[in-house]
């Protein structure tokens, strides 16, 4: 008996993903500036949503406070680049470990809360970060601060080169984050996570160290979210406590994307992001009405199709883009469950 | 009393998901009768009571109570129709005192002989402990409270799910000794039991379930030890 991950559809899926990755890597050569910006924005949402999905859909930790780490990453970047003259791109990669380090004591505190109270606890933490950031006057205090031109120019000689750099950075970060999530889910820790997702009590009685895994996932998610946060604010060139720690921008949309795309499935956030951006193009300029609509759609999806759009597709067609399921292969070359 | 039996169950199938718990079960209870349903663990006795009370619905077959079909009636309408269940394991409300548990049984205010005073008359020990939280009672006392709670709804049919479970024999005998007072008012009773001796003593009519099917039924006095053992164990 062996355990195999791939199915026919997932082999096709992997091939398609590889092709897409190559195509996207070459985007600077076929896309214009606006397209690159749009794609980069999509990548950041895919990354944020995938990380939130790992936290909520797999580890069962529903956070409405991930904006804490988005903002933290942003402020770390600004602090390093402006106050310590660190290369901004390097600063992004430092923001990750810093986020993880801070996430540890935070986790110890808020893990004392369960379920929805945990969720609100994460929100309180984000609020605390926001209030603390407003007190830091060297980084603009309550009104925020812009990245000096010298820092920006130091990134690359020409503006076009900078645009390309930022684009590839977004793509690289997203691919690394997705690959890490994928590798985690494929490992035996991933099996434990899926067990926790399906039935936490049963998982615990099978001897899985649930608390430890949740803690590790929280730290890991903070790591990735902080890096993305640093990138986002490098892209924006300006930071303020309200934008850095905005619930609407960094949590509401992320949650809606994941719910509509499909919680608990790795393809869900990607599908959700594509839908979200496609709709946004059509409903551009509606502002708060768009957010309202997304909220309503998310509620409808949560009640009638809780597995999201991708979940429905999987159920109807049995597709699987990325090989994550485990299939038991019996001897004599007979296929096990599909 | 109305023509025909008070409760008529015809060819009922019931499932928990994919698992079939009842296979074509038929059962009748006449007005004022005491019917015992016996069987081993997992034979489907509790499932049958849940179907009657509306906590579950059969996927096939019919349940007639009085003259109306109650096959798919939701649980909260059971008491309105006159069916009360004493659940397996007592299941008193832990946040409520003994008296509050009894009062909530009578919440729906159906006319009838059973009042708080009468329940206290039937089970004096409950009167002594009326202000205590329900979990503070012993197992036997909780069982009495659970029966009293069901009686407060003045049902026409009382369903008792394994009232002897987990109780000392002397306590069981004590509780069963009061059943005649309950039935004497014209109430019909279905007793689900693993304790065959008590069930046979209390009942007019006995049904024996084995793996979801009626293996044997008849008047209590007509059934011999051998017949019952055979039906109970499926030999």
């Amino acid at each position: 008996m062996t355990v195999e991950h791939a199915t026919r559809s997932s082999r096709i899926g992997v091939a398609l993903v590889a092709l897409a990755a190559i195509g996207l890597a070459l985007a600077p050569y076929w896309g214009d500036r606006q397209t690159l910006r749009l794609l980069a924005e999509m990548f950041t949402f895919i990354a944020l949503a995938s990380l939130w999905n790992l936290l909520a859909g797999y580890a069962g930790l529903v956070s409405v406070g991930q904006q804490a780490f988005v903002g933290l990453g942003g402020y770390v970047l600004f602090a390093l680049a402006m106050l310590l003259d660190v290369n901004p791109i390097l600063a992004i990669f430092i923001a990750g470990p810093v986020g993880a380090l801070i996430a540890a004591p935070v986790a110890l505190l808020i893990f004392r809360l369960r379920g929805a109270y945990f969720a609100i606890g994460t929100w309180v933490v984000a609020e605390v970060f926001r209030l603390l950031a407003s007190q830091i006057s060297v980084l603009g205090g309550g009104s925020g601060i812009s990245l000096p031109a010298s820092v920006v120019l130091a990134m690359a000689p020409s503006r076009q080169m900078r645009e390309f750099e930022m684009y590839w950075l977004a793509l690289l970060l997203t691919i690394v984050i997705l690959a890490t999530i994928f590798a985690l889910l494929r490992s035996r820790h991933g099996l434990a996570l899926t067990a926790i997702r399906d039935n936490e009590l049963a998982a615990q009685s099978s001897g899985i160290g649930v608390w430890g895994i949740k803690f590790a996932v929280y730290i890991l998610t903070a790591f990735g979210t902080s890096m993305i946060g640093a990138f986002i604010f490098l892209q924006k060139l300006r930071i303020s406590p309200d934008t850095a720690f905005s619930v609407n921008d960094w949590t509401a949309f992320v949650i809606f994307i994941t719910v509509i795309g499909g919680i608990g499935r790795i393809e869900g956030p990607i599908v959700g992001t594509i839908i979200f951006f496609a709709l946004r193009q059509s409903f551009a300029g509606l502002g708060s009405l768009y957010l309202l609509m997304m909220g309503a759609v998310a509620i409808v999806v949560m009640l009638w199709a809780p597995k999201g759009l991708w979940g429905v597709i999987v159920e109807r067609l049995g597709w699987q883009v990325l090989p994550l399921q485990r299939h038991l292969m019996l001897e004599k070359d007979t296929r096990g469950k599909s | 009393m109305p023509d025909g039996p008070l409760l008529q169950i015809s060819a009922v199938d019931a499932f928990y998901g994919d698992f079939q718990a009842l296979f074509g079960v038929s059962l009748n209870v006449g007005a004022g009768q005491v019917v015992a349903v016996i069987g081993a663990n997992g034979a489907g006795k509790s499932t049958l009571l849940k179907c009657i009370a509306g906590l579950m619905h059969p996927s096939r077959g019919e349940i007639l109570f009085g003259n109306s079909a109650t096959t798919n009636t939701p649980a909260f309408e059971a008491l309105k129709r006159g069916i009360a269940l004493v659940p397996e394991g007592r299941r008193l409300f832990p946040s409520l005192t003994v008296e509050e548990n009894l009062l909530i049984g009578g919440q729906s205010r159906h006319a009838g002989p059973w009042t708080l005073a009468r329940v206290y008359e039937l089970f004096p020990v409950l009167a002594e402990r009326r202000t205590l939280p329900a979990p503070a009672l012993s197992g036997g006392q909780q069982q009495m409270a659970a029966i009293g709670r069901a009686l407060m709804g003045n049902p026409r049919l009382l369903l008792c799910d394994e009232i002897s479970l987990g109780l000392a024999p002397i306590v069981v005998r004590d509780i069963y000794s009061r059943l005649p007072q309950i039935v004497g008012e014209g109430l019909s009773l279905i007793i689900v039991e693993q304790d065959i001796v008590q069930a046979l003593r209390a009942a007019n009519h006995v049904y024996c379930l084995q793996e979801g099917r009626v293996a044997l039924h008849g008047a209590a006095r007509d059934l011999t030890r051998e017949k019952i053992s055979a039906a109970y164990f499926g030999i």
């Binding site: 529903v62 609020e127 209030l131 407003s134 509620i299 949560m302 009640l303 | 939701p74 009062l103």
Partner: protein, 288 residues
């Protein structure tokens, strides 16, 4: 004397926080639901009061006669029409649906009323003060709010432990299935609980509107205050929630006195400290 004043103001606003928290705590107690839209519903009540005062020319406190039943009705419909379907073992649906609701309410209010800051005028009573001692003043309105808050909490306790409805609520939260056997339609019972919660929210919302400026975005902060009051006080105890609200109010007042920018932070720090050293809260009710 100045510090005494500060603490007094903190205690009084603590009453308002406790009222925010009472509705949240009630719902959690009855159906294990945490309503993320709770704060936004408080703000909604404030806007309903605004509309009532504009439409009928009454003062905010009189508008309560309209706002309370309206919000209660909204609560009943919300529970019966939407939230009942989210209840179950999975914690994701109620959380995400109420989160979605929160966003919808905020943005709906934004569309209808714009982001302009509003405040309701309660008239002369707003500036009226009593002098308790030399240099110790107490505002009439904050005092009224505090007294009403205590009355509301006392009323809820009475309801829960001395009435048939309260019995039904407790029984349903204990054991839904057996409650049904008692003839209780749990869908209806839960909806009544939500209506009750929104009635309390209505009172809190009107007091909020009179006390301070409000706009569509301040909901989440109210949710956080309510939540912190519940956690500090301890789950399951209404009087604990009052204590939690008071402690929160006093912490914020002291923080504000030290530095205005520290008002909210002080409250959060006290909350996090309690979470760290006594996570069950200060006056938790032993689960019954």
């Amino acid at each position: 004397m100045q510090w005494l004043n500060v603490i007094l103001q903190g205690v009084l606003i603590g009453g308002l926080y406790a009222m925010f928290a009472a509705g949240l705590s009630l719902i959690f107690g009855v159906m294990r639901l945490v309503n993320i839209a709770h704060g936004d519903l408080i703000v909604l009540a404030a806007y309903v009061s605004l509309m009532a005062t504009q439409a009928f020319g009454v003062d905010p406190l009189t508008s309560l006669l309209l706002v309370v039943p309206v919000m209660a009705l909204i609560g009943y419909a919300l529970q019966r029409g939407l939230l009942n379907y989210t209840l179950g073992d999975d914690l994701l649906p109620p959380l995400l649906v109420t989160f979605g609701l929160s966003i919808i309410i905020q943005n709906g209010l934004l569309e209808l009323f714009t982001a302009d800051s509003r405040k309701l005028q309660a008239g002369a009573i707003e500036i009226q003060t009593f002098q308790l001692a030399q240099n110790l003043w107490i505002g009439a309105l904050p005092l009224i709010q505090f007294v009403v808050a205590v009355a509301v909490i006392a009323g809820l306790q009475l309801l829960f432990y001395r009435t048939a409805l309260g019995r039904a609520l407790r029984a349903t939260s204990d054991d839904q299935a057996v409650a049904q056997l008692m003839g209780l339609d749990t869908r209806h019972v839960f909806a009544i609980a939500m209506a009750l919660s929104l009635a309390v929210i209505a009172i809190a919302g009107v007091f909020l509107a009179v006390r301070a400026n409000f706009d569509p975005a301040i909901g989440p902060a109210r949710l956080i205050f309510a939540f912190e009051a519940v956690i500090i006080g301890g789950l399951g105890s209404m009087w604990g929630t009052l204590a939690g609200g008071i402690i929160l109010g006093v912490s914020q007042a002291i923080g504000a006195q030290i530095d205005p920018g520290w008002q909210l932070l002080a409250g959060h720090i006290v909350f996090l400290t309690i979470l760290a050293v006594r996570p069950q809260g200060l006056f938790p009710k032993v689960s019954g």
